[in-house]
């Protein structure tokens, strides 16, 4: 019977020898010697295994403990080494640059470089397959798009019309609905949940669904026929196509904006309403004179964001009308996609992109200015 300490020292000796052999093996280049060393290493491992097999009960437990301790020590040593190199690196570089690297890369690769490419590319007849063969054409692209292309101006006007339509419809519907829905009963909650459903489903699914609903024989026209109205061919008629798409996007996002406004409503100060009740103000007066003015900052922020975002509505148009009959529902985003990815007129697409960017930037700047004044 050996003492437990003896087991520890014997284990450590064997393990040290094995580690030394391993290190030697790593350094050694000579093939013959390597084989020799490897043989020795396997011998040592065998010995260790035999040693372990010879132990039992408390001794085996001691062996295992020593094993754990050794592993822990090794781990700590490794961490120390890691920390040393780490601090050496971080003494030179601020670690924040490592944290920021993906964000910065993203910024350069997806924002700044495309931005420059877009502006420069607008002056070239671009050939993306062989970029060197693209020709410098001065303002020809701008001339072709801004002067000669009627469809572009139509798309430009449609973009604004679409944004105004969606925002106007949304504003009217959501303000009325949210003041109606803003209560905490179970039924109100269920109704809110139901109204929110389209927002989380994808635009493609909603688009496909509404292509069916707005079919000349679809549900909407069946309902209209029930009241004796002959419904138009919603999506295939150049007079109604843009309006229909706007209607669908509004339908999809009513729930979302309702909930935002309800959240705003419920955070309004209660005492104002109590004072109004004491003065026996009617519901309509309260809505007009108290709620709307208090809610204006929220509302304006939300709807300006919506206005800007609706410049970017691509999926709805793509699924439902593909730019519509005779370009009646063509918006700028879709026009760019068409020019670049379908017709391969990259220069034209660049001009369109510049116009779209200017539109978005101008609206954002205006919005920011407005908000700063309010503060």
């Amino acid at each position: 019977m050996q003492s437990l300490r003896d087991i520890g020292s014997r284990y450590n000796d064997l393990q040290d020898a094995a580690d030394e052999l391993k290190a030697a093996l790593r350094k050694c280049k000579n093939k013959e010697e390597r084989g020799h060393l490897r043989q020795k290493l396997t011998d040592k491992k065998q010995e260790l295994r035999r040693f372990k097999a010879s132990l039992a009960g408390q001794e085996l437990q001691a062996y295992k403990d020593y094993h754990m301790i050794r592993r822990e020590i090794k781990r700590c040593e490794m961490l120390k080494r890691f920390d040393k190199t780490g601090s050496k690196v971080f003494r030179v570089i601020n670690p924040v640059y490592i944290y920021m690297f993906p964000a910065a890369f993203h910024s350069v690769f997806f924002t700044l470089m495309p931005f420059i490419f877009m502006i420069v590319g607008a002056f070239f007849k671009l050939d993306l397959v062989d970029i060197k063969s693209s020709k410098f054409v001065k303002l020809w692209n701008f001339y072709m798009v801004l002067v000669r292309d009627d469809e572009f101006w139509r798309a430009f006007g449609n973009t604004f019309l679409f944004a105004v339509l969606t925002v106007f419809l949304l504003m009217v519907v959501t303000v009325l609905m949210s003041s109606w829905l803003s209560k905490n009963t179970k039924i109100h909650n269920i109704a809110q949940t139901m109204i929110f459903t389209p927002h989380i489903s994808s635009m493609v699914a909603v688009g496909i669904l509404w292509v069916l609903m707005l079919d000349p024989q679809g549900i909407i026209n069946q309902i209209l026929a029930f009241f004796g109205i002959k419904g138009p061919n919603w999506l295939m008629d150049s007079r109604t196509s843009l309006f229909s798409v706007a209607l669908v996007t509004v339908w999809k996002s009513i729930g979302y904006y309702c909930l935002i406004i309800i959240a705003g409503l419920q955070s309004l100060p209660k005492d104002v309403y109590e004072a109004a009740k004491l003065d026996k103000a009617g519901k309509w007066t309260i809505l007009r004179k108290i709620t709307l003015p208090l809610l204006t900052p929220t509302l304006s922020f939300v709807f300006i964001m919506k206005f800007i975002n609706s410049f970017k509505s691509f999926a709805a148009i793509d699924v439902m009308t593909q730019g519509g009959p005779q370009g009646s529902s063509m918006v700028l985003g879709y026009w760019i996609y068409n020019a670049g990815r379908v017709k391969f007129n990259y220069g034209f697409a660049m001009v369109g992109s510049i116009v779209l960017t200017i539109m978005v930037a101008a609206c954002t700047a205006l919005a920011n200015k407005g908000f700063k004044k309010e503060d």
């Binding site: 493609v204 069916l212 339908w251 970017k312 670049g340 992109s353 960017t357 954002t364």
Partner: protein, 308 residues
């Protein structure tokens, strides 16, 4: 004297007054009933309006189970006499929806798994650390949020094609990994943590990565869950980017494939199959929504309130 006071007390109401009082009470009762009726009507209208938003999805489910002849009649009813589960099988196998479902799952899981390695350090840096070029970087991130993807996709496509990243999983998920929305969200959450926590940790000479991973991230766990939900929904529904950056079918995700189901060379598309595919696309999110509607609603709406 005594008599007078007595009569004064007993003759509280004259007959006319009693009649008036009864009228009044009756009126109150009627009014209460009316209000109760109105309340019920209000509830009914509420549910009806709610149904306006749910009914199309139910109808879609019913369409997906009809035989093609019935589907083309666009009947508004929901009940299907003999459900054709074959439509789903057809969509799953012949229309290769299974392949696209796999791609969608892969895309969302890749983005959801990898984005936190880049989002959280960036947000942490923006929220708590000082470094050169912070304002510049933040400005360029804001510019990136303003610059619509519709305007920049051609240059990005060109860079991708030069780097061999078109039709490549890494290229596909790359822009979503550092989405500005997430940085915003986590930055706000980090800034909401009281500064004393950070100071105490710095006093104890904790390293930045320790502060970030061991102290700050556990403190913003609710925000993480919120972000997980929103990012799953938005990635599962992602359309534009996948459409623009892929040429081959092998990488396209479910929404793009659904769009393809509508494009047929001649005649009408097989609406019942298209509906089945769409149902498959909607199913995970709708199921999630049925079981955790409150969580999802607050996740999608609640945190944007901070910015407003």
């Amino acid at each position: 004297m005594e008599d007078k006071t007595f009569t004064h007390l007993t003759k509280a109401y004259s007959p006319k007054e009693i009649k008036d009082k009864e009228h009044f009470l009756l009126w109150v009762r009627i009014k209460r009933r009316l209000l109760y009726c109105l309340k019920i009507v209000n509830y009914l209208v509420l549910i009806a309006v709610g149904l306006m938003f749910v009914y199309p999805f139910t109808w879609m489910a019913s369409m997906s189970l009809r035989p093609l002849v019935d589907a083309l009649s666009f009947a508004p009813g929901i009940w299907v006499a003999d459900p054709q589960w074959n439509n789903y099988l057809y969509a799953w196998n012949q229309a290769r929806i299974s392949h696209y479902v796999g791609n969608s799952v892969k895309y969302s899981i890749l983005v959801m798994g990898l984005q936190y390695f880049t989002l959280i350090p960036a947000a942490f840096g923006f929220a708590t650390m000082k470094f050169k070029g912070k304002k510049l970087l933040w400005g360029s991130k804001l510019l990136g949020m303003m610059l619509p993807a519709e305007a920049t996709f051609i240059p990005v496509y060109y860079f991708y094609s030069k780097m061999g990243l078109v039709d490549n999983w890494f290229g596909l998920i790359m822009p979503s990994l550092v989405a500005m929305f997430g940085i915003f969200m986590f930055k706000n959450a980090f800034e909401a943590i009281p500064g004393e926590v950070l100071e105490a940790a710095r006093m104890d000479k904790a390293k930045n990565r320790t502060i970030m991973l061991k102290i700050m991230v556990p403190m913003i766990a609710p925000v993480l869950i919120t972000h997980l939900i929103t990012s799953f929904i938005s990635n599962w529904n992602e359309y534009y980017w996948v459409l623009v950056m892929t040429n081959r079918e092998s990488l396209r995700t479910l929404p793009v494939a659904l769009r393809g189901l509508l494009q047929v060379d001649e005649g009408v598309p097989q609406w019942n199959v298209a509906m089945a595919g769409t149902m498959i696309q909607l199913a995970p999110i709708l199921l999630m929504y049925i079981f955790a509607s409150g969580k999802i609603k607050t996740a999608m709406v609640g945190d944007r309130k901070i910015k407003i």
